[in-house]
Assembly symmetry: C2
């Protein structure tokens, strides 16, 4: 494993911004992108004229970066990138900005994700799978009704239950724990407490996932600013240094019939060793995990494959309280995608920053020095190691 | 201008690959992507197992990188990126790969562009402007019939004619010169020689552009491999070092009514100073310019704003023979997008590599040590400085 990392701690997240999260924003995505961006730039103590790069990711449902740059009144920029992707691209977008800063191309790169995910295009609906033109691995799954993310991840969860005895109640522990964090987060769209019984009795979406196993499709946007570290130290907030990043996984799509001999090993198994080595840390050094949690099971799968617990023991691990705010590895302290809202993963990165700053209010975890954030789509994922100290 | 560039010459293009270019490939884009990729990997003296990153760009018309990774049989990768963009993203895709290599994340990154641009989705047709959901700057242009790239760039060309006296005959010189190069290129789809008269008499597409001012929509793919420089030196071909790169321009869309007070200053004016400074060169050091040439006028606009000639003098400059193979700055030595084919700009990057290797056959330019490649879309563009020596 090559652990050379010229980007290590050369950049840091210096500003975070949000729009309100809702089921019907009443605004076009361009306005959401702009509002979150302005909020993040202001939080960093900067003005739009300081921004010299813009990165976003979308699946045809957002504002292009040059539209946002225009709306912000940027005169020129060195790095404009629209990425085409969903859940696996949240940390990739930040990594892309970190690279542009690290090699010397930019001083301050704006990163945002804006979507009307509930009132506009609903990512989780089967309708989002366009039957026309389905090719590649999907030709073997889509015609059989495996149309939406909930179907794909449901199959992975079911396989894990068969292989390792993971239970519905253990999935419920993820939902209940994250909801208990959302109760402390006035930005969260789902703030009423829930119980294991609520989870068990919620309606089926796609076996083994019930309603409370699934994230809440959301309208809203969030944004952050990645700055050069030497400049970051003079800005208002403690920098959240970008110590390392990765995106990867097997080339195979999650449920393609080819190349998959193991349905219960996920992307972190492929990227974690390099990710940790390049940051100079081990898994035990991580104080908080902002794991991508579009479905409850994803937390269990990632806990195992990032190495927080042994393979197959993710279910008991969450049931034992390890992911609570006072547990061994707090997860989803904002409520996660499950309960804060689904801004396609980027909101979880922002929570990691708030926790590293020590500014997470009543949901603050004590002494967060190193945080992991992740994004997941199909069989590919991205991840960041964020550090309070450079 | 900050000229720090940690990425300078840390990576190099080591392999190039093509499919045949045609008007009807008879293959799905996935197969085109795979075939060009295999060709590039083989040209680099590598096997798919050496590739640890994949980058592509598309506008919903190509193979996603994880599909191509799967088809290649890659087991794992550190950098998967699908970029969402067209002409402005050709050099950006290469730059993205260069950054992933430069910071230590990857050893060999595959970059490709595959499209059935003629038999499938035709990028240049008005139908590609989807009226539903038009927003931002386009709400002020699309309803008035300004639907396709040819309309946008035609307006820029007409304004330049008004301001600086640029003529149809000068546009014709670009078409004729590039076609004379395509005659020497057995990959080119347009190989019959043309004259200024042919150009002048070709049918209107959108005033001031005639048929021979417009590139040829094409089916095909091309690919390249970006490798770590220390490894590149042991591979079969002389490395084409990536000395610097940039993407940028004004935030404003090319013809938005807002923020544009000058319709004849283009993206290179914004990025050239930094691009050259980070490579440690001046414009006079550039031996070959693989300029993005979807329309003849784009060559004239870029020659001026990259600084090869004074502002407003691009027309006489091309008419005086400066862009010919034996001119002061050869352009489009492969025939360019105008005559080799339209692989959305990436084929021009490959030509720069062939010229740096000294392997361009009868169209070889003597002594190419430093080459510029560019991509252009709306008011944003990307560019690379490629060097034979590190």
């Amino acid at each position: 494993m090559d652990s050379e990392n010229l980007a290590r701690n050369r950049s840091a997240i210096t500003g975070v911004g949000y729009t309100p999260l809702s089921r019907a924003s009443g605004l076009p995505v361009d306005a959401l992108a702009l509002n979150a961006s302005i909020d993040a730039i202001r939080d960093a103590g900067l003005t739009p004229q300081d921004i010299d790069g813009v990165v976003s990711y979308a699946v045809g449902d957002s504002a292009l970066v040059r539209s946002t740059a225009q709306a912000l009144g940027l005169e020129a920029s060195n790095w404009y990138v629209d990425l085409f992707g969903g859940g696996s691209f949240s940390c990739l977008a930040v990594a892309n900005a970190a690279m542009a800063v690290s090699v010397g191309l930019c001083r301050h790169v704006l990163v945002y994700r804006a979507l009307n995910g509930r009132s506009g295009r609903r990512f989780g609906r089967s309708a989002s799978a366009e039957l026309e033109g389905v090719g590649g691995a999907e030709q073997f799954t889509v015609p059989f009704g495996q149309l939406a993310p909930v179907h794909n991840y449901g199959m992975l969860a079911r396989r894990h239950m068969i292989e390792y005895g993971t239970t519905t109640e253990q999935l419920g522990h993820v939902a209940v724990t994250l909801r208990s964090n959302a109760v402390e987060n006035d930005r969260a769209i789902m703030r009423h407490p829930i119980t294991l019984e609520d989870h068990r009795e919620s309606r089926w979406i796609a076996d083994p996932f019930r309603l409370l196993d699934c994230c809440q499709e959301t309208d809203g946007a969030c944004a952050l600013v990645v700055s050069r570290s030497d400049i970051a130290r003079d800005l208002p907030h403690p920098p959240a240094y970008l110590s390392s990043f990765a995106i990867g996984g097997r080339g195979a799509s999650a449920l393609a019939p080819d190349k998959v001999d193991d349905f219960t090993t996920f992307f972190p198994a492929h990227i974690a060793p390099g990710l940790f080595a390049r940051a100079g840390i081990e898994v035990g050094d991580i104080d908080l995990a902002a794991l991508y949690d579009a479905f409850t099971f994803l937390v269990i799968g990632q806990l195992e494959d990032f190495g927080f617990c042994p393979k197959g023991e993710g279910g008991p691990f969450v049931a034992d309280g390890n992911i609570a705010r006072d547990g061994t590895i707090p997860v989803g302290t904002n409520g996660g995608l499950l309960s804060e809202g689904y801004v396609h993963g980027l909101n979880n990165v922002l929570e990691a920053v708030s926790q590293l700053r020590g500014k997470a209010g009543t949901r603050q975890v004590d002494g967060v020095e190193v945080a992991l954030a992740s994004g997941w789509g199909a069989n590919v994922g991205s991840a960041l190691i964020l550090s309070r100290g450079a």
